[in-house]
Symmetry: none
Subunit: 200 residues, 4 copies
DNA sequence: AATGAATGAGAATTCATTCAT
DNA sequence: GATGAATGAATTCTCATTCAT
């Protein structure tokens, strides 16, 4: 068990250190030596655990996907008991909190998706779609309720996701002017106008 | 002048070729040799014109900024004669056309901004801000007119920019479901709802 | 004894697996990890039995030498009762059968003798000489009998060995045109002409 | 021209040095660093000329093939004016001189043919066949003349080639007992007996 | 203006081997 | 006897850049 534990720890350590370096300097700018050094580990030892540099990106990818996954899972049920508008507002707030917590991860994949194989890219995209679908189902519900009026809920849902991600990838601007709370308040307002609007 | 002209041509050729390669495989994955080879040019000759690999990114950066710049310039005046709503819709349509034309460039900078110095990053950011300001001024005008109701025009303006850029950086999804025309129609509708909404 | 037996089995297993890998991909291209893996054995366990990679080559070497040795032993006595010509033909046939059976081993040492220490190389060479001497003694006997006429029986003996080994190291060519039986017939004929010839 | 010349020199230098190292320690045991160092050249400079380690083996391979090729060419014509027996003896003597001069090369390819691609191996094999064919045509001529009696000239021709190559790959033994002249004399005698013998 | 040659630094990865448990 | 973890040294190869001509 001690063995087992140590092995997992090492792998965890590698993942954690590598993720930090990847985020800080980018995947291509990070060398395996850098990662090993920061782990106080011989390069060969690192290879004992991971197989290749790309495998590390892989692991980080899986971890990132799982983060999103659990966000979706955690919030699915809680929303059923609220009204459409409350639910949407709640989901936006929670997702923005999530983006805030994992902003580095969010931005990272906006930038480095290029380095994934197409298979992995699909996985990431699919997970992002399922986040969008969480919002989409809320919008559909609101339409049934007569609370929302929308020509196309898919675009609207993706809009919501992107406007939340924007808190991460435009942080250089937004942080200068708003707190997360303010940003949440404004965006929620705008999005609610968007979905309940008398468009066109 | 012949000299001068040739020199400029060479530089232009390098920029063009490099941009294509950068876009296709990323800045770090593109080697100076690759660029030189595609220009049918010796590496040393290339260095005669550009100084460093990073300088090429620089040039591409300046070029990209100028593209945005001219977009702003071209559209500023045309908008004055329209009504607030017409002007906004027109600006969105024009910007989406621009994003569609330069989608590779747009996506590139979402991904590779990391490789810029902070000074250059500032320049890029500033230019993006000035695009946002184009929209912001339209929003401000609409508020004065009583056509729009908005608590914060800055966020709303950035929303518009990001939702347009999204046509480029989520193309893997959007292209599957919408033409540019459809996308333009839907987003314009949603944005107009957003800005003319009863804020919360 | 159970212990002892198991230990010998393990060693035998290593030798067998290693020999197969050496033959297939060459000594240098075979890694200790490969061998251990194919033995379903930990690398360290393997080292518990063998000491070094080179020692494995050693073992294989000894095994190869012993193969030749037993060939010589097995055939020495049987030959006494035949006539010189019969004996020579018989010895050639038997040796060709041996080469055919151990063609991989034969070829291997033609190729990898380089990787032996000079001491080991001597051992291999000596054993090859003793194979040659088997033939040489037959030739000497034939000369005494007046059946063969030869200026130098050493060269003639080595010729025989090499022409038989050739069945292994030129198999890429010979197999296309001849069966072992045909090859045996032709070579026996040629060699008999050689040794009974009215030369020069 | 100076340029051109230097470039060829460098390549020639690399080939020469590499060949020597390959012969001395084997292809796999020779590192690119070793080669570069012996050339007083930076590793990257070496790669400026050759592309890959394997390409060097390639070059050496081509060179070796060309050596054999020119041996065949040089001797083809000279043989026409002699009698069959004279011609065969002459060809053997010349080929043995060739093997003696290029014994390292000869032995090398007996050992390292494994490291060639199958395409390259074919090329080497084909060239060896054409050497054999030189002898085979002499044997065929001798049969027409009624000078030689042979059931299969292909095997006989390959025998000659192999018995000559043997001077190189059994040098550890043969050099102890014979000079090249003695070896030539004995083998010529044996081969002539072989080909003019009363086949069985 | 143009180029072939050159280079130091560094990339990812593999290897035979050892050691503590 | 067995094993997972560890390592120093070495591998092939690439890169951005410079320099003499």
């Amino acid at each position: 068990m001690g063995r087992r534990k140590k092995s997992i720890d090492r792998l965890g350590q590698i993942l954690k250190v590598a993720a930090a370096l990847f985020i800080k300097t980018g995947y291509l700018n990070t060398s395996v030596r850098d990662i090993a050094a920061k782990c106080h580990m011989n390069v060969a030892t690192l290879y004992h655990y991971v197989g290749s540099k790309y495998k590390i990106l892989n692991l980080f990818h899986e971890y990132s996907v799982s983060l999103l996954e659990s966000f979706v899972e955690e919030n699915k049920l809680a929303l059923d008991e609220m009204s459409s508008e409350e639910a949407l507002a709640y989901a936006i707030r929670r997702y923005l909190e999530w983006v805030d917590e994992y902003q580095d991860v969010t931005v990272f994949w906006y930038q480095e998706a290029r380095n994934l194989t197409s298979v992995q890219f699909e996985a990431l995209a699919m997970q992002e779609e399922s986040t969008a679908q969480l919002f989409q189902s809320l919008l559909d519900r609101g339409i049934k309720d007569g609370k929302f009026r929308l020509a196309d809920t898919r675009i609207a849902a993706h809009n919501i996701v992107v406007l939340c991600d924007m808190w991460a990838f435009r942080r250089w601007l937004l942080r200068r002017h708003y707190t997360l709370q303010e940003y949440t308040k404004y965006q929620t307002g705008l999005i609610l106008s968007q979905v309940s609007g008398r468009a066109h």
